[in-house]
Symmetry: C2
Subunit: 106 residues, 2 copies
DNA sequence: CGGGATCCTACAGGATACTG
DNA sequence: CAGTATCCTGTAGGATCCCG
């Protein structure tokens, strides 16, 4: 177990990094295939996408659904625990939107 | 100006990194001197503290109040814009707290 | 199609010494 | 006390190739 001085550190560890919040945001609107996610995030590399998805899965926020077929088909979805992040993600989106506006007018 | 695919990216850029959320959390409870912040975050280095504070100031979330005296005295406080992050920080803290509990019982 | 395995680079973050 | 200036290291993240 890790020790934290502040509970917020645990949250940052889970959704930190460059992509996790964005991935979670996209999954908020429903189950997505790997390739759909890639199209939604043109700048993410294959490696990072897989890696971040794995970590989110390990942290218990998303489910990975693999269909046993050729060609492979894998879907990711927010589970109940992952959905508990929704209010935070929504606020972050709103705040980010405002921040963009604000910095444009300055 | 930077371009974002998603508004949330702007938010992540502002509060991203290892320390900014934590600093903001501490400032939520009121104005703090530099050394107070250091004591509250034993593991942060002097350099990182100053650096992150500067960035938060540049992004318009906090005010830096320097008293012209010897020995120097500098205080930092959340301004109005910074306070707009409060709901997000509070949610993150709560979520992080729950996450710690959860991972302990697993 | 989804993703593992490598190798590599850039930069976030740290250690330490110094200044007014 | 608050902050700079260097120098250094770890690792997050990227490029590329390969596999079932």
């Amino acid at each position: 177990m890790k020790e934290y001085n502040m509970p917020i550190e645990a949250a940052i560890e889970v959704i930190g990094g460059k992509w996790k919040c964005i991935i979670l945001c996209h999954l908020e609107t429903g189950k997505k295939r790997t390739n759909e996610l890639r199209k939604l995030m043109p700048k993410i590399t294959q490696k990072m996408l897989t890696q971040q998805l794995r970590e989110l899965e390990t942290d218990g926020l998303i489910n990975r659904i693999a269909y046993d077929q050729i060609p492979p088909k894998v879907e990711y979805e927010l589970n109940e625990y992952g959905k508990s992040m929704k209010p935070i993600l929504d606020l972050l989106c709103t705040w980010g939107g405002n921040h963009i506006k604000k910095s444009k007018t300055n």
